[in-house]
Symmetry: C3
C-alpha cells in the first residue's frame, strides 16, 4: 500500500474542499486498485459529489438543517452547537474508496472528492490518501 497525507486549510467557517486534483495526482502511474481517502478527525467527513454548481453551498447549509447547531447536544464545548459537528461524521463518514484503473480515478464526469468540515474551531485538517493495488 502506498500512502501519504495532505494538509488542508479549512479556515474558521464550514467548508467543502475539493481534493480531486490531489487524489488524481497521487494515483497517477500507479496502475489498478482502490484509493481510500480517510480523514483522521472526529468532526469532518469525506463525500463524493458535484462541486462548483452550488451543491457544495447547498450541502453545508443543509447540514445545519440535518444537525441543528442548538442546545440539544450533550457534547457541549467550543462554538455554540459544536456538538453537531461530532455527530455529523456518523452520516458523512471520514472514509471513502474510489476505484482506480491504469492510474486514473474512475469518477463520473460531475463527481469530486470533497473534504466536508462543518467545524468552525479547527482551521487545519489532515487527509490520508492510501492506494491498494491489485
Amino acid at each position: 500500500m502506498e500512502t501519504t497525507t495532505l494538509t488542508i486549510a479549512t479556515g474558521s467557517r464550514p467548508s467543502a474542499v475539493d481534493l480531486t486534483t490531489d487524489a488524481a495526482s497521487f494515483v497517477r502511474g500507479k496502475g489498478d486498485g482502490l484509493l481510500n481517502v480517510f480523514v483522521p478527525h472526529a468532526t469532518a467527513g469525506v463525500a463524493v459529489f458535484e462541486t462548483g454548481a452550488g451543491s457544495d453551498r447547498d450541502l453545508l447549509d443543509h447540514l445545519d438543517s440535518l444537525f441543528p447547531r442548538d442546545g440539544r447536544w450533550s457534547h457541549a464545548h467550543g462554538s455554540p452547537g459544536h456538538g453537531a459537528d461530532h455527530v455529523m461524521p456518523a452520516v458523512i463518514a471520514p472514509s471513502i474508496s474510489i476505484p482506480v484503473i491504469d492510474g486514473r480515478l474512475q469518477l463520473g464526469t460531475w463527481q469530486s472528492i470533497v473534504l466536508v468540515d462543518s467545524n468552525r474551531d479547527n482551521p487545519k485538517r489532515i487527509v490520508r490518501l492510501s492506494f491498494l493495488s491489485g
Copy 2:
C-alpha cells in the same frame, strides 16, 4: 483488480435497484477479497439494506423528508427540487465495500446491495464493480 460495469435502467422515478445478484455473479469463483461497488454519477448512491419488505419504498419516501424537493437549493436546474439529488450522495455515498470469502459475498441474510437513485432526470445508470483480492 478485476473490474466491470453494469448498465442499470432506473427510469424516470426515484428508484432503489437491487444489485445483489449481479454482484454475487461477479465475485463467484474469485476467492477472498473486497468487492467495491461504485456509482460514477453525482446524483445516486449505493446502500446496503433490506429490500422487498417495504423498506426500499420507505427509504425513497424518507429521502424526500431528509432532502425536501423545494426551493431551498441554489443548485437549481432540471425537475423542481432537483438540487436535493445533488446533496443526497454526501449522505448515501456512491461507494461501498463488501467482504468476499471464497467467491461469496459476506452479506447478512436480509442485506441487499442497492443502487439508490432519487433523480427523475437520468433514466440510465452505470455501476462499477471492482474486486481486490488478498
Copy 3:
C-alpha cells in the same frame, strides 16, 4: 485477506458499541493495508466518530430525530417504529474501511470505530473484520 468475526452484545436498547480495541488487536502485526469493518445485519451500521464525551448518546438521540419511530414506515413489524431501523443503514452504512500502517490503525486521536445499533429487537450482533494487505 485475513478475516474474522466478533460477536457483540448490544442489548435491548439502542446502542453504540466501541469496537476500536478489538479492531486494533486484529490488525496488530499485520503490516500495511486496509481494514474493512462490516456488519452483516440489516438494522445496524458502522460509524467512525468520538465516543465517551456525550456524542454517542447524541447520535442515538439524533437518530430518533432523523428517523422518527412513528407510523410512517410501511415496513411495520416488531417494536413500534421499527421500520426506521431498516432505513437507517442507508445513511450509516454497515461498512467502513480504515487505513493501517505497520499494524496500526490510522485513526485520529478522537476517532473510534463504533457499531451503531438502533434496533431494540436484536440483542446480539456479528461484526466482520477483514484486512487486505498491500
